[in-house]
Amino acid sequence: MSTMQAIAPGGTAEASRRRRGLAVRLLMSEYLVPGVTVIYFLVMWALVPAIATTETLLDILAAMLPLLVVAIGQTFVLIVAGIDLSAPSILATASVVGASMMTGDGGFALGTGVPVLVGIVAFLAVGLLIGLLNGVCTTRLGMPPFIVTLTTMMFFGGFALFYTSALTEDGSSFGDLPASFVAIGQGTVVGVPYSLGVAGVVMLVAHLVLSRTVFGQWLYAIGRNPRAAAISGVPVRRAVLWAFAISGLCAGIASVLYTGRLETGTPVLGQRILLDIVGGAVIGGVSLFGGQGRVTWTLYGVLFLSVVDKGLQLLGLDLASVFAIKGLVILCAAVLDAVRHRLMLRG
């Protein structure tokens, strides 16, 4: 017969204190989100064993890489207490402009002999230029990042649609992209996607910039207190401008990966993933108030969202259940994050 073990009152207090200490350490740990991801994965594994197959794990990896790249760009802006709502429209604009250069259906750069190279440069240039525009409006005109990027999101979202309808026969998208370009988004070496190399380089460079350079330290200082940073000699306006430019550039790189993956330059690319971009960074621990954030935290947040998504896709439930479960899971993560911040403030 089974019985619950009785514990002496003195021991209860000691055990309870120990448990509380363990819970606090767990909550304060930067590995909290990966931990939650593992728990979610294990629960899903019990429900849908297919989630643990090599094929599915590689799918999760391939799916999260473009999102990770664009979320890393967002991390730079969040660290300076800004926000870049235009990221989805940068994805779309870069996708259609880049694809229009190299599409087999009359691409502008077909005659150059290096259409893929021209196309990729176009992707990156579009991202960088829109990022710079956001940065200039924010720093030189003193406009709030929310308003600036909201309006550029609307303008470039419309521009991408106009550009596509003006240049394609069916008005919907650019197809027939070169195989060498498509390979960037779809190709693998021994089952490992090429896009992992691209995302890995972006991650490494971003990590080094944030943790090992003066520019990185400027960004954190600006995020914590821009006035104090300015008094200390930090070129606040220049640094913020480049944070937005980096965000745009990362969106341009992510657009290359998404467009290659879909073999299509589409004006609606990424229009529904703004929440995942910002959410991925914030769930990982990057602060919306600035001054806090790491590339690895963004990686954890994006991984968490990607695993949640894949689990729900595999379950194949109706829409209402998916919304309810996803909302609940993200709410749990947000509550844990709020508790963690409260504990952090208490010291």
């Binding site: 073990q5 989630i51 998208s173």
Partner: protein, 333 residues
């Protein structure tokens, strides 16, 4: 044996998860994935309900995913269904070209893919598409309206609400309309072409402007019935919302066959509606799966001939109209 509270909790969680696993795995004979890009109109909501019912009747299990117009997410959903080793994937994609990698992935996994209502772009990948014969159905609808116009006599100023030109269905419906009106230029003059992009607000604004510019519009065709509420509102404001037989009636034609179209036909405001035979389309899609499982290779495009329903034959044909089924449910609810 002593069981601590922690051991009990962990054990209970594992047992619960294990039993759910058994529940999820308890599947029927075949498992089919229904991948929609949205459920934003009654057509799609009715479509998925009919699919669930018909699949259940066949003893199949359905898994569902909605991509919310995100091509990349839909591609991931296809891959997830491949991992689940489903027996068939029914997909309604947003973009005809962006779905091609998904078809290739399904081909590689040897899982049949059927596109519902929207065919993919041409490619070397193999899949079967079920689509309404939009152009023919629209031609038949407008032909009926023209015959009515000829009976009543006089000249007509026509207006068409066109859908999103990125959607092949919208293009075919537009072409079906012009096929007929261009042959009847002696009595019909098209004075307004409204690009709605399948957006109700744009339809409302566009039609308002068109009626202001051409107050004598008396022949109106919409490429989808989901725009009826906006059309009714604009015509009422312009004092042009009258039943057939009443003075000032605008000859009005619809397309799809939703519950609003049924109600307006019954009430006498709508003259004709081109109906996509949703029941038949689901049967055709499921039939394609059965053919593919049997090793047959159906044509890449299978057409639903649809039909035109009018006030005159409403009672005889309404049981084939999916909107009537929805309307009946709404009356009961």
């Amino acid at each position: 044996m002593q069981v601590t509270r922690r051991a009990f909790t962990v054990g209970a969680l594992v047992a619960a998860a294990g039993s759910m696993s058994v529940m999820v795995k308890a599947e029927g004979n075949k498992t089919v994935a229904l991948l929609f890009d949205s459920l934003v109109s009654p057509f799609w909501v009715s479509g998925i309900e009919i699919m669930r019912e018909k699949a259940k009747a066949k003893g199949w299990t359905t898994l569902e995913n909605i991509s919310n117009f995100d091509d990349n997410k839909q591609f991931e959903q296809v891959k997830a269904m491949i991992s689940r080793k489903v027996d068939g994937i029914l997909i309604i994609q947003t973009d005809a070209k962006a779905v091609i990698p998904a078809i290739r992935a399904a081909n590689a996994a040897n899982i049949p893919m059927v596109h519902f209502n929207r065919p993919p772009a041409k490619s070397d990948a193999y899949s079967v598409a079920i689509q309404a014969d939009n152009r023919k159905i629209m031609q038949d609808t407008v032909n009926f309206m023209v015959s009515q116009a000829k009976q009543m006599g006089g000249k007509y100023k026509a207006c068409i609400l066109i859908g999103d030109l990125g959607d092949v269905n919208a293009i075919q419906r537009r072409d079906g309309f012009f096929d007929v009106v261009n042959k009847n230029k002696d009595i019909i003059d098209v004075v307004a072409r409204i690009a709605t992009e399948w957006n109700a607000d744009k339809a409302f604004a566009g039609l308002t402007n068109a009626i202001q510019a051409n107050p004598d519009i008396n022949f109106l065709v919409t490429s989808s019935d989901f725009l009826h509420p906006q059309i009714e509102q604009v015509l009422k404001a312009a004092n042009k919302w009258h039943k057939k037989g009443e003075a000032g009636h605008v000859l009005f034609g619809g397309f799809d066959g939703d519950e609003g179209a049924y109600a307006r036909l019954q009430d006498g405001y709508l003259d004709a509606c081109g109906v996509q035979n949703l029941f038949l389309e689901v049967d055709m899609a499921f039939g394609a799966f059965e053919d593919l499982w049997a090793g047959k290779k159906p044509d890449k495009l299978l057409l639903d001939p649809g039909f035109v329903i009018t006030q005159d034959d409403l009672m005889a044909k309404r049981d084939q109209m999916w909107g009537y089924t929805v309307w009946k449910k709404m009356q009961k609810g």
